[in-house]
């Protein structure tokens, strides 16, 4: 305030404002971090998951597998099941497609129907071919595939599971 006496009242007002602002910021910023903390977390969990012996999987017939991952959400443990199909195209242990059985429409689980020779989703009749392509129904894209896989020395097929 140029040319004016800096009054006692103005001093109190400004001090109150500054201290109040400091308290507001001092509590507000930590509170924001506290609230949004879960959103800032990147959970990339990855692991090689064994899904079955290669010798059990026949060429031409989809082999169904499933595995469970345990997740810690805050203070709660949740186990989620995942499933899929291995489709071997020849005897070559790298010549195969591994599909995730989660429908690309709204995440229901598709089932292999032997007589229809297709994966059918029970929820909205999504239909996929043996290698995962959309044959009919609402799904917007082919079934997801696990592209990273390996066969261990004792003949177990493992897929690389990555979340997030």
């Amino acid at each position: 305030m140029p040319g004016k006496e800096f009054s006692r009242r103005d001093f109190i007002k400004i001090t109150t404002g500054v201290v109040g602002g400091m308290i507001g910021l001092g509590l507000g910023l930590p509170a924001l971090a506290y609230l949004l903390d879960p959103a800032f977390r990147t959970t990339t969990k990855e692991a090689w998951v064994p899904i079955g012996k290669l010798s059990d999987m026949q060429v031409g017939t989809p082999f169904q597998f499933s595995f469970t991952r345990v997740q810690l959400n805050g203070w709660e443990r949740t186990s989620t099941s995942y499933g899929g199909y291995v489709i071997r195209k020849s005897d070559d242990p790298t010549d195969m497609v591994i599909l995730n059985s989660r429908c690309t429409h709204l995440s229901c689980t598709v089932n292999w129907q032997q007589d229809a020779q297709a994966f059918i989703c029970p929820c909205h009749d999504g239909k996929f071919s043996v290698d995962g392509k959309v044959l009919g129904g609402p799904p917007p894209r082919p079934l997801d595939a696990y592209t990273d896989f390996r066969v261990t020395q004792d003949g177990v097929l493992e897929i690389f599971y990555k979340e997030g």
């Binding site: 509170a31 506290y34 903390d37 879960p38 805050g74 203070w75």
Partner: protein, 219 residues
Amino acid sequence: MWTRVYQWLDERLGLNEMYKNLLDRPEPQGSWWNTLGSASLFLFILQGVTGIFLTVYYTPSPDHAYDSINYIMNGVALGWLIRGIHHWGATLMVIVVFVHMLRVFVTASFKYPRELTWLIGVGLFLLTLGMGFTGYLLPWDQKSYWATTVGTQIAGSVPFIGDFILKALRGGPDLSALTLQRFFSAHIWMLPAALAGLIGVHLYLIIKHGESHWPGKED
């Protein structure tokens, strides 16, 4: 530009008048003892804000109460700070409200025309203690479990109706999930609502009557 926006709002809301009546009130004599009421109000708001934030993660169930608080303390960014403020703020609020009450008593500020302000203030003090009592159980650890066992048992020692009071407090004869749930409900809904309402009346009366005079030699 901003002055015109402010003037438009002021004409309709009476901001200047509100400021003059609420915040620019004259004090008979400045004394730090006269700030304890404002300090209590500040702590009430602080407890409200940090308490609301705590409910984002806290779960009032015997299965999860302890684990969820453990998660607040060790899992969430700055959770220890929010809970720490709420924890220590609670103790501080009981102290500040009590000292505020002592000051009003010592300066005889409860006399005419401020008897109602005093009575409501006593209610506010009891509600503050109630907040402390109900909040203490929520961590659901050994200390809080047994403190509430003892506390409700004491309430149960009232002649004739003691057993009824004990069951009403615990939601049954024993401490259980029902106890935790009703203490939580009281702690975040009923008691704060009662506190907020009474604080409103308390403040209205203070603004209406003004601060009492500091007692002089003749008083």
